[in-house]
């Protein structure tokens, strides 16, 4: 069944209360209206406990909404018979690379989702090889996961999701436990998939630098959607970010300090390169 709507994921008046919480006192999420387009790169930022992870789990049908509904490719996530389909469309990458690899070798781990789809062995093998080739993991196929670096583990996790041909990849702070190279590799892998394969990405992150490349940024606070817009607008609003306990990208923070000292910098500088250009042109003018 092909979904004709232009949105990949739609959340309508979504609310979620964790069991045991008083219903009105502290909703994990409330009043969320959100539509994710096909092939969109969406960054989700917000302080701890703002409901980012909960939102991802709702999109993956790991949680069922308490109020409102979530539609993935037009399928409601509460439809028990179609949960497998929802999870195939929306693959999820978790924060801890160690705790999401199931199998004893990389190839078997990439195959795990396909095995759950009960595909024939030959087809699984072909898909695993194709995905490993795409992500440059061929040399690791027979390695056990505990011998991989953190970045490699996350890329194996991405390969496992990718093998199921998802329409969207949900990432819950996938780089939080990685070193610089691992972080760069993972982000480049995901951006490449978004760009070349048109796979939508919803990326929960603590690093403003990673949100810079998104098509759209959403800020959550205390379970509510506080702001959304393109990165130039959202990330350059330093006062809002700071009031939520968040930080802007380095360029934004630096530009804010420079403006305080009287430098006449244009608004909406979010890339370091842009900041350098503006400073150089100021220098030339004076």
């Amino acid at each position: 069944m092909v979904n004709r709507s232009e949105f990949m994921i739609e959340a309508r008046e979504l609310a979620y209360y964790y069991p045991g919480e008083e219903k009105n006192s502290f909703p994990a999420l409330s009043g969320i209206n959100l539509a994710v387009s096909r092939g969109e790169y969406l960054a989700l930022i917000g302080p701890n406990g703002s409901g980012k992870t909960t939102l991802l789990k709702l999109f993956n049908a790991l949680l069922a909404p308490c109020e409102g509904e979530v539609l993935v490719e037009g399928i409601s996530t509460v439809d028990e018979n179609k949960i497998a389909e929802v999870r195939r469309y929306c693959g999820m990458i978790f924060q801890n690379p160690d705790n999401q690899l199931v199998a004893t070798t990389v190839e078997e781990d990439i195959a795990f989702g396909l095995e759950n789809m009960a595909l024939p062995s030959a087809e699984i093998q072909n898909k695993v090889i194709a995905v490993a080739h795409l992500l440059g993991l061929e040399h690791l196929l027979h390695q056990p996961p505990h011998l991989l670096s953190g970045g490699e583990k996350q890329r194996v996790a991405i390969a496992g999701v990718l093998a199921m041909q998802p329409h969207c990849i949900l990432m819950d702070e996938p780089t939080a436990m990685l070193d610089f190279t691992g972080r760069r590799d993972v982000i480049e892998t995901v951006r490449g998939l978004n760009r070349d394969q048109g796979i939508a990405v919803i990326h929960v992150t603590h690093f403003p630098e990673e949100a810079v490349y998104a098509d759209r940024i959403i800020i959550l606070n205390q379970g509510r959607l506080v702001m959304q817009g393109p990165p130039e607008i959202v990330l350059s609003d330093v006062s809002l970010l700071h009031s939520l306990g968040l930080q802007g990208p380095a360029a934004v923070e630096l530009a804010a300090l420079l403006r305080e000292d009287g430098f006449d910098l244009p608004p909406q500088l979010i890339h370091c390169r842009e900041l350098v250009h503006s400073l150089c042109s100021l220098e030339r003018k004076s």
Partner: protein, 265 residues
């Protein structure tokens, strides 16, 4: 450090013995063990012993791995030897110490028993040294499948065992990290009586358990997110297939067993 952690006894290789189907290896081993206990003649047993040595040579697994595997049975072997030497009568008297005599029949039977024991262990080691723990697990779970009809979730049990194998190195790394963290704060795991040492492990085991439970929780979530459902039909990337060579090995084991039983070798 973590690289030196090996699972089970598996020694990687490309030999024919390595490549045999694990299920076939298990059944063949069963037949060979039955054969070992049905053999009555020295010639048959010695022949089987040499077959074991021949297969060991074929695997290209260093022989010291087999010797290491034999070490635990050394004590039993010596014990059996003593019993047979001194307490079996018959044949000519070889040695007389006071009222105890060693007679030729005892020596004959003692050596026979030990040769049988050693051959038994060698054949078992042939299985465990050339088969990965994972294939062994799946091979065993295949034979447990009939138990599903009495309500035992055999596929899930196999999955649990496979995950346990996957996490052994991870948890070992973690315990080493915890140990170093405790040692850096003055903990002492090495000195004192056994009781003291066991007690000093408590601060290690508690956090290890806590983290194992947290891992299990996250892993369950990740598995669910990738479409794993209990009771659902799954396939496997590498279905183990039978090649003619597997049937040949099985046939040879069967024929040997049948020959021994009918001819009374």
């Amino acid at each position: 450090m973590s690289r030196s952690i090996t699972l089970g006894q598996y020694f990687p290789g490309q030999s024919l013995v390595h490549q045999l189907n694990p299920r076939m290896k298990l059944i063949s081993l069963l037949f060979v063990l039955a054969l070992l206990f049905s053999l009555r003649s020295y010639s048959g047993l010695v022949a089987l012993f040499f077959i074991a040595l021949f297969l060991i040579a074929k695997t290209r697994v260093p022989f010291r791995y087999f010797l290491r595997g034999l070490r635990p049975v050394l004590f039993i072997a010596i014990f059996a030897l003593v019993i047979y030497f001194f307490f079996t009568s018959g044949g000519i008297v070889l040695l007389r110490v006071g009222f105890i005599t060693v007679e030729s029949e005892g020596v004959r039977e003692g050596i026979f028993i030990i040769l049988r024991l050693v051959t038994l262990v060698l054949f078992s080691l042939l299985l465990t040294l050339t088969t990965t723990p994972l294939s062994l697990t799946y091979g065993l779970s295949y034979f447990l499948k009939p138990l599903r009809y009495i309500g035992l979730p055999t596929d899930e049990v196999a999955m649990i065992m496979a995950i346990a194998l996957r996490f052994i190195p991870t948890l070992m790394e973690e315990s080493q990290r915890l140990m170093r963290a405790q040692v850096s704060r003055g903990a002492d795991f090495e000195s004192g009586s056994i009781f003291r040492r066991a007690k000093s492990l408590v601060p290690l085991i508690v956090p290890l358990f806590v983290s194992a439970f947290r891992r299990a929780d996250e892993l369950a979530l990740a598995m669910e997110a990738r479409g794993y459902r209990i009771g659902a039909i799954r396939t496997r990337m590498h279905e183990d297939t039978f090649f003619p060579r597997d049937w040949v090995v099985l046939a040879v084991a069967l024929v040997m067993l049948a020959a021994s039983l009918t001819l009374g070798l």
